[in-house]
C-alpha cells in the first residue's frame, strides 16, 4: 500500500470538489473509515479554498498543486499555490483570525484538528505550501501493515 498522486488544476472554485474526490479516492486505498475520509476531505477543502480565495484572490488562472502520498503510516497531503503568500503565519493560524472580516478564520483550525500534523511554509509574493499528515489507525491495521 504505497502510492503517490500529484495533480494540478486551475484556481477555480469548482476544483475544490475535484480535489476532495481525488483525495478521497486515494485515501480509500488505505484502512481509513468513512468518517476519517470525511475529515480528510474537509482539511483538503480548506487548504485548496485558501489557495484559491487568498493565494490567488479569486483569480481563476493560478495553478494549485495537490500531492497525496500513501505509505504504511497513512496519508500525507501537500497543497501548494504560487500566489500572494502569508506575511505572518503564526497569526494566520490563530483560531478566528482572518484577513477578510467576512470570513470565520477557522480553516487552519479545521486542518489542525482533523489531521495529525500540519506544517505551513510561505513566502510573500511567492506562494504557500501546506503539508498535512493523517495516520491510518483502524483497529490494528496500522501495526499489522507495518510489519
Amino acid at each position: 500500500m504505497k502510492n503517490t498522486m500529484q495533480m494540478r488544476f486551475l484556481s477555480v472554485p469548482d476544483n475544490v470538489g475535484l480535489a476532495r474526490v481525488a483525495i478521497a479516492a486515494l485515501a480509500g486505498q488505505a484502512p481509513f473509515s468513512l468518517s476519517d475520509i470525511d475529515e480528510i476531505k474537509v482539511a483538503v477543502s480548506e487548504a485548496v479554498s485558501n489557495a484559491i480565495i487568498h493565494g490567488y484572490k479569486g483569480k481563476p488562472d493560478g495553478w494549485v498543486e495537490l500531492t497525496g502520498t500513501l505509505d504504511k503510516l497513512g496519508l500525507t497531503i501537500v497543497v501548494e499555490d504560487f500566489g500572494v503568500g502569508i506575511a505572518d503565519i503564526e497569526q494566520a493560524r490563530q483560531p478566528s483570525f482572518s484577513s477578510d472580516p467576512e470570513r470565520m478564520g477557522l480553516g487552519f483550525v479545521f486542518m489542525e484538528s482533523f489531521m495529525h500534523g500540519l506544517h505551513v511554509e510561505s513566502t510573500v509574493g511567492k506562494g504557500t505550501r501546506v503539508e498535512m499528515q493523517r495516520f491510518a489507525t483502524i483497529q490494528g491495521e496500522l501495526s499489522r501493515d507495518a510489519q
Binding site: G17, E39, F110, S113
Partner: protein, 77 residues
C-alpha cells in the same frame, strides 16, 4: 483551541451523514424522475441540485457502488 477542536468534532456541519449508497440510490431515483418529467436526460448539475448534494459527491457515490472496472473484462481479480 482544545475547546474549539472539541466543538468542531461534535458539531461539524460539513460532515456527510448520508451513506454513499444512499446518495447513489437517491441520485438514480432523481434522474428517473427528471427523465420522466422533461423527457430528456438531466445533467449531473441538475441531479445534484435536486438532491442538494455537491455534484462531485453524487458522482463519487455512483462510482463507489459501481463494481467492474471495465464493462466486459474486470482487469484484476
Amino acid at each position: 483551541i482544545g475547546e474549539i477542536r472539541r466543538y468542531l468534532r461534535d458539531n461539524n456541519p460539513i460532515r456527510v451523514s448520508r451513506s454513499l449508497r444512499d446518495i447513489a440510490y437517491k441520485a438514480l431515483q432523481v434522474r428517473d424522475g427528471l427523465v420522466h418529467r422533461y423527457s430528456k436526460e438531466p445533467t449531473i448539475s441538475e441531479i445534484a441540485e435536486e438532491l442538494s448534494v455537491p455534484r462531485e459527491e453524487v458522482l463519487y457515490a455512483l462510482d463507489a457502488i459501481q463494481e467492474p472496472v471495465s464493462l466486459f473484462e474486470p482487469i484484476y481479480h
